[in-house]
């Protein structure tokens, strides 16, 4: 019987394991499907990781290395090349070459499977179906791990950070990036990436544009992009056609919750991740979730921070008989806030609660407001909020303690 089994050995899983260990768990297991720990960080060879956690700027592999070393130092066991087939409360079934299919018992489970990219099908771009269409992450793997060149003349659809990073990466490997095309009137990528990945190399960013045609029978030969109107519909007559051999798609990330879904865990229709309380427990007893499987984060530092908390909660759950109270107060949103994580707060919580959320549109000079029973308890000015950035605020426990009965908690934005 394990105390805590962690599914996924990326930044969330590693940090959750350390959190569980810190709280005194000795019987922990990390299950990782690929051949090494570190998850997607292994292929994110660019810098910009760790400013919050380590107060220095690291590359993805360096950030992962530090966590892997900590896990090794704590002697936390892990399985590699091992895929989890199914979970249920207190048991995990996995498969690998050495053990075949095996089911293990555990007191708590932490879901840390990360996210995946939205594929072309989800976009329904009309046209031919040649080779040369990659998700940005696949192109990143081919370039950085396999050492192969996905293409020479590249159009990138989507200006999220992975798309921007790949624009620079392909350029540094000798490819010509013809344009980065963004459907929205703003980029969801960091300003820093727009400047250092596009402007530095004079790569045009076409806002309010989308790919409207892919041509080429065998390999991509031409990509046509069009401007879009306010309803994001292409405007005829605005077509620009590029002689490109490659189209990279960086059109969004989706939490990878197939295991959670099969286990009957309730998922949020907004985030695609499990609905959790402030201890990161899902609605399935003893199953916790953290990192990008819970909601897509902007910075890995926040993933590590959140996952450590989730690991601690899982450990407390595994080690004590005290189960969290069943009384949970739902957190609702207003204004531009799209969702919050956690979605519920335990009425008896003894700790400050960190709330993370994202906004649906760019907002300048607004406020983040928290209301308890309809009464404003926190109001924080914010110079800028953007969909690409995660907002974080803390509701101190002293605020909640003031109320005899809490009926509602609302988090949102105001002018």
């Amino acid at each position: 019987m394990y105390d805590v089994v962690i599914i996924g050995g990326g930044p969330a899983g590693l940090s959750a394991a350390l959190g569980a260990k810190k709280k005194g768990c000795s019987n922990i297991l990390i299950i990782e499907r690929s051949e090494k720990l570190g998850g997607i960080l292994n292929q994110c060879i660019h810098n910009g990781f760790g400013l919050h956690t380590f107060k220095e700027e690291l590359t993805g592999p360096e950030y992962a290395y530090r966590y892997i070393k900590m896990v090794e130092k704590e002697e936390i066991p892990f399985l590699l090349n091992t895929t989890v087939l199914s979970i249920s409360p207190h048991s995990v079934t996995y498969i690998n070459e050495e053990e075949g299919v095996r089911t293990i018992e555990t007191k708590a489970i932490v879901l840390a499977m990360g996210c995946r990219e939205r594929p072309r099908g989800a976009l329904n771009i009309p046209g031919d179906r040649p080779s040369g269409i990659f998700s940005a992450g696949t192109a990143q793997y081919l370039t950085n791990i396999e050492g192969k060149m996905p293409g020479k003349r590249v159009v990138i659809l989507g200006s999220g950070d992975i798309g921007l990073i790949m624009a620079r990466r392909m350029t540094l490997e000798g490819a010509k990036v013809l344009a980065v095309v963004e459907l929205m009137p703003y980029s969801s990528g960091l300003k820093r990436n727009i400047v250092q990945c596009l402007d530095d190399f004079s790569i045009p960013l076409l806002l309010s544009h989308t790919v409207t045609k892919i041509e080429g029978r065998k390999r991509v030969e031409r990509i046509t992009v069009s401007a879009v109107d306010e309803k994001r519909k292409p405007i005829p007559g605005t077509e620009i056609t590029y002689d490109a051999d490659t189209l990279l798609l960086s059109v969004g990330l989706l939490p990878e919750n197939e295991l959670s879904r099969k286990a009957g865990i309730t998922l949020s229709p907004v985030t695609g991740g499990p609905i959790v309380d402030n201890s990161f427990q899902t609605d399935s007893d003893g199953i916790f979730a953290c990192g990008n499987v819970l909601h897509v984060h902007d910075l890995v530092d926040y993933v590590s921070n959140e996952a450590e908390k989730a690991g601690e909660s899982a450990a407390l759950y595994a080690l004590s008989d005290r189960k969290p109270s069943k009384k949970k107060i739902p957190v609702s949103v207003f204004g531009l806030a799209r969702y919050t994580v956690p979605e519920m707060i335990d009425e008896d919580t003894k700790e400050d609660t960190t709330i993370r959320f994202r906004v649906s549109n760019v907002k300048k000079d607004g406020k983040i407001t928290v209301r308890v029973n309809g009464e404003e308890v926190i109001s924080k000015k914010k110079r800028i909020m953007a969909p690409g950035e995660m907002e974080t605020l803390i509701i101190p426990k002293r605020i909640l303690e003031k109320y005899e009965i809490i009926e509602s908690i609302e988090v949102g934005t105001e002018d």
């Binding site: 099908g121 080779s131 990659f134 192969k148 060149m149």
Partner: protein, 476 residues
């Protein structure tokens, strides 16, 4: 003569023909212009084994459909391809059209279709709760089935191979010349092939092949149909295949589970001048979406994982053309094979093989191999069986395609079996790696490493499908 029979085209029809030919005592070759079997019409169609209610009675389509559907059911037990009797419904949406359901029922009786029933809209919704409220009447075809076209074609081709048939890929027929006692087939590869008989199973190019030899010209129009495939989260939304009432344009847009359970909708039908134009257009996708919504308002378009188009060979006569060309002895056509071509494939294969054997006065082999051993499917096994398999060969315990839970061992099988895969699409068609929700995002580099290792093809020369559809460009 190099061969007794040369089959042109490695789709389901060519593969069925070569499979039945291989049961005879003769030397047979199949030539295919692409890198793999199932590369034309076979790679993108509805995968329905029609019960046979639709074709005009007394046409070849009607006869071969009903017969072929039965043969597919029987052979699925021996050749072990993915096949499932799931039933089908033809639905009408207005009391004014309900008489057409009765007409189809009558037609079905004439065509020899068994297990038909007429249901009210409510009765139909009891079986398929996601059907539209507007369905007023339904012809329920319990014998209708679904088949994986790749799996069927692979089973046929593999079995033919085991019975001694030969295959040449990346070989395009450029001309056919009549020679003494047979034909010389000239291809785009250096050597030409001599053969006593030629069988034309060239799909949308069936007219070009026929017209090289016969003065009795045929004309094939390529009709394109688009589809949308959904995430396997849609499993169980529909168990039966749902057709709308047929029109002059064909059987219309259907809503069906694939043999793997996930939802698929399509096709429309557009005549196209360029026979290789399998592109999708916004107009077509919009059309099939709207049509499918008539059948069910609950279709979850957010869960589309891919859209694609297939082409069908429509001959001007409207019926299949199967048989020896009048003015070209030893030249046989299986042309104009559009729907219900997949359903009819085995009947066509058997029929053509018999014609060829009669012409050459060849007998059946004494002990042909009639059973094909399918590669292991670990995810469909019991845990004990699966563990036994992994113990014997650990690669079945290493999952490469996480969306469809495909192991390394299965991918190695797909490469190393007879007529093994040489391209990413070849792997996808055989074992579904890359067919799931991430569409190969995670597994394609891993699959390419396995192709590099087991098929000895350098990484940069691995194609998506045809020659020239390379994935990576060259070392950085």
């Amino acid at each position: 003569m190099d061969y007794d029979a040369v089959v042109i085209g490695g789709g389901v029809i060519g593969s069925a023909i070569v499979r039945y030919l291989s049961l005879y005592d003769m030397k047979t070759l199949l030539v295919e212009k692409e890198e793999d079997i199932s590369s034309g019409t076979t790679k993108a169609n509805s995968g329905i084994v029609h019960a046979g209610y639709d074709p005009e009675p007394d046409t070849l389509k009607a006869k071969l459909n009903v017969k072929g559907a039965k043969m597919i059911r029987e052979e699925s037990e021996k050749l072990h391809f993915d096949y499932k009797v799931n039933g089908a419904m033809v639905v009408s949406f207005s009391p004014d059209d309900d008489y057409k359901i009765d007409e189809l029922y009558e037609r079905g009786i004439k065509n020899g279709v068994e297990d038909m029933e007429i249901l009210s809209g409510d009765e139909a919704r009891k079986i398929e709760p996601n059907l539209s409220e507007n369905v007023t009447k339904c012809l329920y075809l319990k014998s209708s089935a679904i088949v994986c076209p790749f799996s069927l074609t692979q089973a046929l081709a593999e079995n033919a191979y085991e019975n001694g048939a030969e295959f040449k890929f990346n070989t395009k027929v450029e001309n056919i010349e009549r020679i003494d006692g047979g034909y010389r087939v000239i291809t785009d590869t250096s050597s030409s092939i001599t053969t006593r008989t030629v069988i034309n199973a060239a799909g949308v190019y069936g007219d070009a092949i026929n017209n090289m030899v016969s003065e009795k010209k045929i004309h094939i129009t390529a009709r394109r149909g688009s589809y949308m495939l959904f995430d396997n989260e849609t499993k169980g939304m529909f168990n039966s295949t749902i057709f709308q009432l047929p029109s002059s344009k064909g059987k219309g847009v259907l809503v069906t589970p694939t043999v793997h359970g996930n939802l698929m909708i399509g096709p429309n039908s557009v005549s196209i001048p360029d026979k290789d134009d399998t592109s999708t257009t916004a107009f077509d996708l919009d059309y099939i979406s709207k049509e499918a919504l008539k059948t069910s308002p609950y279709i979850p378009f957010r869960k589309v994982i891919t859209s694609f188009s297939g082409i069908r060979a429509h001959e001007d006569s409207g019926d299949f053309i199967v048989g020896e060309a009048e003015d070209a002895p030893g030249f046989f056509n299986a042309a104009g094979i559009e729907s219900p071509g997949l359903s009819s494939s085995l009947a066509i294969g058997e029929m053509v093989a018999k014609m060829v054997a009669d012409r050459l006065e060849k007998n059946k082999k004494e002990n042909p191999i009639l059973e094909r051993k399918a590669p292991p499917r670990p995810r469909e096994m019991s845990i004990d069986e699966r563990n036994k398999l992994i113990k014997a060969n650990p690669t079945y315990g290493k999952i490469v395609c996480r969306c469809e839970e495909i192991s390394e061992g299965e991918i190695i099988d797909a490469i190393t079996r007879p007529l093994g895969a040489r391209s990413l699409d070849g792997i996808k068609r055989r074992v579904r790696a890359g067919m799931g929700r991430c569409q190969g995002g995670f597994c394609s580099p891993k699959v390419m490493e396995l192709i590099e290792k087991y098929a000895s093809i350098p990484f940069d020369e691995i194609n998506k499908n045809s020659l020239g559809s390379n994935i990576t460009m060259e070392d950085k």
